[in-house]
């Protein structure tokens, strides 16, 4: 221990800390596998599945940021995923319909295009809404609840209720949203046949690159002073207040970022999978992704991504081989991870002194 009275000769504080290259090296390796190896070895159907998992991984990345780093357990990321997905779906529907009405509107007896839909004809507007709408909703929610110091389980329940409400809203507005069926039967994606292998291949690359870029951004954020502040808010919100920061602002910003990620993921999901519907964004899919993040390792961004991809594969595998067992397995895995390995799969690979 250092005495306060007899100060040791002040060692000049280290100006630069040695760089750790293992992280970037691992990222590069994964990038090569994702962008070169996978497209070469996987048949189109499997590559499409991977693209779908990678869109989930984008949502998971946001959950990792909000929950793992910021301590905000969000059980309603499906809402933002859905808002992004519907924004994209509406544009594709209008594009396919040309001068007419989207097919489901005709079936529902809608005669004129609802005003809400009209601006989504414009691709730039639609893409902007993919980011703006989820971001704005999360910002509004965050501003309202974090300022009132709603947190922990209360926040979790609130977000879950939001997911449930969103489903009810979408199902109820059949003529506007396609109801339970959602938006599907897409033909064209920005001038390409959406079902063509080449389009799907291009989409895979798009999803992978978007994930990579968002991951790098989140990683940079995590290492920044803001990232340190976020951890501090997670571990001692009241103390942070007495350091002169407003935790509500920190949380609102982070929650908004995570919502924007989910929105982008939803928009990419639509052309990859060819549908967006209430079943894809309700309480269950929102929870499934939280489970995936917990299994992968919520305290590390890479853990969140890993969890989403692994759980995606596991779900597909078991649904093909043992359809009845999957739900039980998923639940058991969650309990095991929470009980025995709270740091998730990635926790086994990390040195003890690294947590963030």
């Amino acid at each position: 221990m250092t005495a306060i009275l007899e100060k040791p000769p002040v060692t000049p504080a280290p100006v630069k800390e040695p760089r750790d290259w293992r992280g970037p090296a691992l990222f590069a390796l994964v990038a090569v596998i994702g962008l070169v190896v996978m497209p070469l070895v996987l048949e189109p159907f499997r590559l499409g599945l991977l693209a779908k998992y990678l869109t989930y991984a984008i949502v998971a990345l946001g959950i990792g940021l909000a929950w793992g780093q910021g301590g905000m357990l969000t059980l309603g990321q499906g809402v933002f995923f859905g808002l992004g997905g519907y924004a994209m779906g509406m544009h594709l529907k209008l594009n396919d319909a040309g001068d007419g009405l989207p097919d489901f509107m005709v079936w529902s007896g809608v005669e004129t295009l609802p005003a809400l839909w009209e601006p989504f004809r414009n691709p730039v507007f639609a893409i902007a809404m993919v980011v703006v709408v989820p971001g704005a909703v999360a910002w509004l929610l965050g501003t309202l609840v974090f300022r009132q110091r709603v947190r922990g389980a209360y926040f979790a329940i609130l977000t879950q209720a939001l997911a449930a409400a969103m489903v009810i809203l979408l199902v109820g507005q059949q003529g506007l949203t396609g109801g339970t069926n959602g938006l599907t039967n897409f033909f064209e994606f920005f001038g390409q046949d959406v079902a063509a292998d080449s389009t799907q291949r291009g989409l895979y690359f798009t999803v992978a690159i978007v994930l990579g870029v968002l991951f790098l951004g989140a990683w940079q954020l995590q290492r920044s002073r803001f990232g340190r502040l976020l951890l501090a808010v997670r571990d001692g919100e009241d103390r942070v207040r007495f350091l002169g920061y407003n935790p509500a602002t920190v949380k609102t910003i982070t929650f908004t970022l995570s919502a924007v990620m989910a929105g982008i993921a939803g928009a990419l999901f639509v052309p990859v999978v060819g549908i967006i519907s209430p079943a894809l964004l309700g309480v269950v899919p929102s929870l499934e992704l939280v489970v995936a993040v917990a299994v992968g390792g919520r305290f590390a961004l890479a853990g969140a991504v890993l969890g989403a991809v692994l759980m995606g594969y596991a779900k597909t595998y078991f649904s093909e081989e043992l359809p009845d067992a999957w739900l039980y397995l998923q639940g058991a895995l969650f309990i095991l991870v929470i009980g025995l390995a709270p740091k998730g799969i990635i926790g086994f690979f990390r040195r003890k002194d690294v947590t963030a």
Partner: protein, 253 residues
């Protein structure tokens, strides 16, 4: 020049219980003030009032000539009021250096926080030096001892360059050796800061205090030098007298 801190006629009522009752409390620039009183006297409540954690039922808190009743906690920190808590709360997942850096960065605009910390700023280096935590800079705060955590907290305060420091029982639970070091640290800080210290420990008080304010049952009992306060019969009754009774009790049992 007006006083730095002026608490005027503050009362706090919790569910009918008067935690503070018409307290006036003034601290001048550059003062080192000790705040004492038996358990439940309202010491921590008074600190909570000053820092905004508790809202006064009546009365005003003035800081540097302006009434700050309506300000929220983090806004008061930005005015220059810093505090520590009885149970130290440092961020265990962050290193000592990161804890100090976070404290020191609170005036940076939010956008500039998005950059990574490069090296150590002057303020942080200074806080490391004053608290003697230099060798532990890269250790996670979670591994620090109780005494080291308190010093880190005080260091975080110093790094913020506050105009008023409020320390809530900084030596509680410390060994004699740690107490002595904390006392020296306190003397060092008080040279160029205004400091209010809540302390139970009479021995510590005798060694390091100059001006003392005594609270009792939510009221201000007396204010004066250590000797005046110790000589006051009322203080002896409520504070020292109790200690004597406790001592007698110890002998009996």
């Amino acid at each position: 020049m007006t006083a730095l801190l002026e608490v005027r006629d503050v009362s706090v009522v919790f569910d009918g219980f008067r935690a503070l009752d018409g307290v006036d409390f003034t601290v001048d620039h550059g003062e080192l003030r000790f705040l004492i009183g038996p358990n439940g006297a309202g010491k921590t409540t008074l600190i909570d009032i000053i820092t905004g954690l508790t809202k006064p039922t009546t009365g005003t808190v003035g800081f540097d000539g302006a009434v700050i009743n309506g300000k929220r906690e983090h806004e008061r920190v930005r005015l220059g009021i810093g505090r520590t808590f009885q149970t130290s709360v440092v961020f265990e997942e962050l290193t000592v250096l990161e804890n100090l850096d976070l404290a020191a960065s609170f005036r940076r605009p939010l956008l500039s926080l998005l950059a990574r910390r490069r090296g150590v700023t002057e303020k942080v280096a200074e806080a490391l030096e004053t608290t003697g935590l230099g060798d532990l800079a890269k250790k996670k705060a979670g591994v620090l001892s109780h005494g080291q955590r308190q010093w880190l907290e005080i260091g975080m305060l110093i790094a913020q360059g506050p105009r008023l420091l409020l320390l809530d029982e900084p030596v509680a639970g410390m060994s004699a050796d740690e107490r002595a070091r904390t006392g020296d640290l306190l003397t060092e800080i008080a040279k160029d800061h205004t400091v209010i210290v809540i302390e139970h420990d009479m021995d510590f008080l005798r060694r390091y205090a100059s001006t003392v304010t005594v609270l009792h049952e939510g009221k201000l009992l007396i204010e004066g030098s250590v000797d005046e306060v110790r000589a006051d019969p009322r203080v002896q009754e409520v504070y020292l007298g109790r200690a004597r009774e406790e001592a007698a009790h110890d002998v009996v049992s």
